[in-house]
Symmetry: C2
Subunit: 339 residues, 2 copies
């Protein structure tokens, strides 16, 4: 899922996203509720109409941003009080309010409200946050507001195998439509991420529900996680790095600020069918970055989103025809050896 934090995947239109092969996109409850507000989006017909995206939308619950971006004022068992990163105004999120906001936005999949903690904290604190996440999961499910919206639960537990198993048991026992893995890609090592996904995969066993790894990741991460049974991803990385001039290709990363590219008539990736690669040379996009032209960010974003979604398509094909290891060797290792 390309990430549309503020009701737009940065620099791209819905038409660009369809052309890139996007199936579902993500919206951020924390940001949208602060601006333009969930109530305003509801009055304007919901998030799909507001941003003119006619495909599925998953909204997160705001938990991740509250614990990573906002100025926290109070966390208790009922919910979280924080001040906005935009204007310092005070807000409160509870499982019930997070579900209400997502019902107002009208996303197709809502996420339970969870508590994120640094996996490097003492185990007792990680365990406390996990237990609270379980209580909030049940309340989120009970607060489900609309029958046309699926709800996914979130497994926490840091990088501790016992806690992760307990969390899968607790969340898996609830009537969620899908299971998400939270609390990864937040500072732990790649080896810890892979080991934790192994634990989760084993604990979920043959649970048939879709599995979503939140906030991940890089091309190498996709291989690590798909190999461990993950179905769904969201990540800002493709568009965020694009805006710095980093594009992803079958041969690895390419930095469009590299002076040598100013004279390179080849497209970013000769095998890519995106608008940037069909029409433009590396030399041109490199020029646009140097000239700080808005089109630079757009073309690099179009490419990275297209390339990433095409990688996911090839990953699906590789699982069906048994060529996963070959694909990982050919592409994944250009982005760093997988654990």
């Amino acid at each position: 899922m390309p990430v549309g934090t503020q009701a737009t995947v940065k620099a791209l239109t819905p038409g660009d996203l369809h052309a890139a092969g996007a199936q579902m996109i993500l919206g951020n409850t924390y940001h949208l509720n602060l601006r333009p507000t969930a109530e305003r989006i509801a009055r304007l017909g919901g998030l799909h109409r507001f941003m003119a995206w006619d495909g599925p939308i998953l909204t997160d619950s705001g938990g991740f941003q509250v614990f990573s971006m906002a100025d926290l004022r109070d966390v208790d068992d009922d919910g979280v009080t924080f001040t906005s990163h935009l204007d310092g105004s005070t807000h409160r999120l509870t499982p019930e309010r997070a579900m209400e906001i997502q019902a107002l936005l009208g996303s197709d999949i809502a996420m339970a409200f969870d508590q994120l903690v640094d996996p490097g904290l003492p185990l007792a604190q990680v365990a406390d946050a996990m237990q609270r996440t379980h209580r909030w999961a049940a309340r989120s499910l009970a607060a489900r507001g609309r029958p046309d919206q699926a709800v996914f639960g979130i497994v926490q537990g840091g990088v501790d195998a016992e806690l992760r198993r307990a969390s899968v048991a607790a969340i898996g026992a609830l009537a969620f439509d899908g299971i998400a893995v939270g609390g990864l890609s937040v500072g732990e090592s790649k080896v810890q991420m892979a080991a934790t996904l192994d634990v989760v995969a084993e604990a979920l066993a043959d649970d048939p529900r879709p599995r979503y790894l939140m906030g991940v990741g890089s091309p190498a991460d996709f291989f690590t996680a798909v190999e461990r049974g993950i179905d769904l991803f969201d990540c800002v990385l493709p568009t965020r790095v694009a805006r710095t001039g980093q594009v992803w290709t079958d041969a690895g990363r390419l930095n469009l600020r590299n002076a040598a590219l100013m004279d390179d008539p080849a497209p970013i990736d000769a095998d890519c069918a995106c608008e940037a690669c069909r029409n433009h040379s590396r030399a041109y996009v490199a020029h646009l970055f140097r000239a700080r032209e808005l089109l630079a960010y757009r073309l690099a974003s179009v490419h990275n989103v297209t390339w990433t979604l095409e990688l996911m398509r090839r990953l699906r094909v590789s699982l069906a025809d048994g060529s996963f290891t070959e694909l990982r060797g050919r592409i994944g290792e250009g982005f760093g050896r997988a654990p």
Copy 2:
């Protein structure tokens, strides 16, 4: 002509420009020669291929920017020495070099190198610059480098009727493919601009060559100038004001930073067929501006370029069917009463 200063009409792709109805676009010799340089663009196949625009391109000669943006070091009869606004490096432009650069860029229409002066300067200085412009015009024409490139001359003379008549006589006597009016929209009043265009129109009489008013203008200016026989315009205004949130509609200007628009489900202009108006509400684009999202600048630019080119189409129709005055009353006056 939408303006593609640095080999891009800001925020837009060639596909956007075609969809907006663009026929010809403008590239800036001053900017392109500093970065990425005319020689590099020539090595990469010329400006059309470099920016992937398959329609006609007109390049200016760099004169306007040298006299308005650069740090001038020396102006003599041979040419101009200046330091780059980018890195302080020293450069020289002469009529011959301006034509060489434009031949390297491979534009369809090249402009003669001219000297711009503030029309408010003492008449003797305006006259001196005009005389030099005439000498440079002859040298530009003599330096014409390629048979597939048209060359337009530029009439100067400030806002003085005698000088303008003399300039039309001098430039009109040369074998240019078109006649441009320079030195307007640089601080003179709207009444002075209209009066100067009257003088030029009378002096050109039934000269059959296309007439191009450089660097103009606003919607109101188009009516003023078309009424006085102008065929061609270029202006950064549609995209420049778009990036500040100002969009143009049949009902006049609309400021997308106006808080009331945050709840307005209507499109920017219900009669406009651009991507922004087909798919998005004022509320959405207003939100994007407040959130400083890149898509804001793109959608507002798509709209203003589309609306402006559609206005020009309607102006052409109005000349054919006699409805010019009605069209000016209905639309032009929403942008300020014409002189």
